[in-house]
């Protein structure tokens, strides 16, 4: 499967009419977007706002971050099974609006999750402080059940991303990259001497606010399976996961999966990037056993020499991570796991909820319990009563001068477990 990504650099984002993408400037007709989102009667109101890097702005509570893309050639459309039909994606040509994102914000449940600071010390810990962000603050219809609200917010974000992507249909990319994965037989013939490496990607799949969708299918219900890496680039996997802010994978992370990018960079040179195996993180123990058995079996079946395993979330996923690692290593396949840590505010507690000597090669996204002080910002985009209710903060989080003392966990994407960031710990 071969996909060409055409990158369109967005240098500025503003409201205006008509909506257009021209010479790097993205102009959005806010009313038009608003009208589109309000077509869904589950949404009572939506406020649009723009946050730019360096501005004294705090966005909270963040639900998801999505990058606008548009499918130019090849089967299917963006976000198959959710927005577009279920055609298999990942081939042809897709344009990427680089440098901006759509951020959805809104309560869904009473406790708050997810802060993006566009400047100050908090900005260093989230990749989204470097993007031009179009923020959608979504208010649900009166009395709407929580899971329907979550669905409505998810849908609004994805639809907006697609709507914006459409504006770039006739633009000319600044640069292009070709990502190609040969079939098994072809790959073996092309790279007989290179180590065969796979990417085992664990998807959060536990319930409300803890779900991921693959071609529209709830990841709770899947058996581990194989995807071409390029399928993720066209939105085959989208996030329904809002918890916890620091180590949940946003849809942006799925589209721009950094393990996939970094494996592709060495593909055909130092390794043969065979493909992606997706698996889940169910609460039901029999599912954990079945999924890890399947994952190890698929790794072996694909003749892998090595695998990188990434995870998502806190607590019981550590058990899946260790099960996957142990079983894959037992097949003689070498692994590296990517995780984050909850080592306590003093860094002295056991970082993971599970462990095994087989996991001897580990990359960490940092200790999520680290305490950080976020200075007051001039403007808050989001819901107003958020401050003392942030997960990772407490009654005393808000200081008299308006700054917030909370744990790193409150920052969206801070300790990402797909290795998206440079943050680490020792």
């Amino acid at each position: 499967m071969k996909l060409e990504l055409g990158y369109l650099r967005v240098t500025d984002l503003r409201f205006g009419s008509p909506s257009a993408f021209c010479n790097g400037v993205l102009t959005i007709d806010a009313e038009a977007v608003r009208a589109m989102i309000l077509e869904n009667d589950k949404v009572a109101d939506v406020q649009l706002d723009i946050a730019k890097p360096g501005e004294s702005i705090r966005i909270t509570p963040v639900k998801d971050v999505i990058q606008p893309r548009i499918k130019i050639e090849g089967p299917g459309g963006m976000f198959p099974g959710t927005i577009s039909k279920v055609d298999t994606v990942g081939s042809g040509k897709t344009y990427v609006l680089e440098g901006m994102s759509v951020v959805t914000a809104g309560k869904i449940v009473g406790f708050q999750e997810g802060i993006i600071d566009m400047s100050g010390p908090g900005a260093d810990y989230t990749p989204f402080s470097r993007l031009l962000n179009l923020v959608l603050v979504i208010t649900p219809a009166e009395g709407l059940p929580q899971h329907e609200y979550e669905q409505a917010v998810r849908s609004a974000g994805l639809k907006t991303a697609v709507w914006i992507g459409e504006l770039a249909r006739n633009a000319v990319p600044d640069r292009s990259m070709i990502y190609e994965t040969p079939g098994i037989r072809e790959g073996m013939a092309l790279y007989p001497d290179l180590p065969r490496v796979g990417y085992v990607m664990m998807l959060q799949s536990q319930g409300l606010l803890h779900d991921t969708y693959v071609y529209g299918v709830d990841a709770k219900r899947i058996l581990p399976t194989v995807l071409y890496p390029t399928e993720l680039m066209d939105g085959a996997i989208i996030s329904g996961n809002c918890v916890s802010a620091c180590d949940k994978n946003t849809t942006y992370h799925h589209l721009n999966n950094s393990v996939i990018e970094d494996l592709y960079a060495k593909h055909g040179k130092e390794l043969n990037f065979v493909g992606v195996i997706i698996t889940n993180e169910n609460v039901y123990l029999a599912d954990k056993q079945r999924s890890s058995d399947f994952t190890a079996k698929l790794c072996e079946y694909l003749g892998l020499d090595g695998a990188i395993i990434s995870q998502e979330g806190f607590g019981n996923p550590d058990t899946d991570l260790i099960m996957n690692c142990r079983k894959i290593e037992a097949k003689g396949i070498k692994t590296v796991i990517i995780t984050d840590e909850y080592a306590g505010q003093d860094g002295r507690s056991q970082s993971l909820a599970d462990s095994d000597p087989a996991a001897d090669a580990c990359v960490t996204g940092g200790n999520a319990n680290m305490v950080i002080t976020l200075p007051p910002m001039d403007r808050v985009i989001g819901t107003l009563d958020y401050v003392t209710r942030i997960a990772g903060g407490n009654q005393n989080s808000l200081q008299p001068d308006g700054s917030i003392v909370a744990e790193l966990q409150v920052i969206t994407g801070a300790t990402n477990e797909t290795g998206f960031n440079r943050l680490s710990a020792r």
Binding site: V109, F111, Q206, G207, S244, N282, V283, K288, N316, A391
Partner: protein, 129 residues
């Protein structure tokens, strides 16, 4: 296979009582886990992982666990997993703020959702036996 829910979540009691036996614990999440541990020593085994969900133990007051009754001996895996979970939960300390009624209802909802998927799987497995 007998199955049993241990929970301090009133929504769980309302949802499942009558369909699956619910042992309601009128106490904290750590107390729920201690009850689970005790039952594991008495021959029950875990069907769900005690650290369900990514909401931290010092954020949400609710915990629900699904167990199966065994006929023969104790399941060491279950005991170890539960003890480990108790360690993690204790490490996080007590709930950090006074949630309002509306927020408590939301936590109940998320906890119930986490259990629901597992409960359906367990019932399906039951039918096979």
């Amino acid at each position: 296979m007998k199955i049993l829910i241990i929970s301090n979540n009133p929504l769980i009691l309302r949802t499942w009582d009558g369909k699956i036996p619910v042992r309601y614990i009128d106490g904290s999440a750590p107390e729920v886990l201690l009850a689970v541990r005790d039952l594991c020593h008495l021959g029950y085994r875990l069907l769900t992982h005690p650290l369900s969900g990514s909401i931290k133990p010092n954020e949400t007051p609710y915990k629900s666990v699904l167990l199966a009754g065994t006929c023969c001996g104790t399941d060491t895996e279950s005991i170890l997993l539960t003890e480990n979970a108790i360690d993690v939960v204790q490490r996080f300390g007590p709930i950090r703020r006074n949630w309002q009624e509306r927020e408590l209802k939301d936590f109940q909802l998320v906890d119930a959702s986490l259990l629901a998927g597992a409960a359906e799987s367990a019932i399906a497995d039951l039918k096979e036996i």
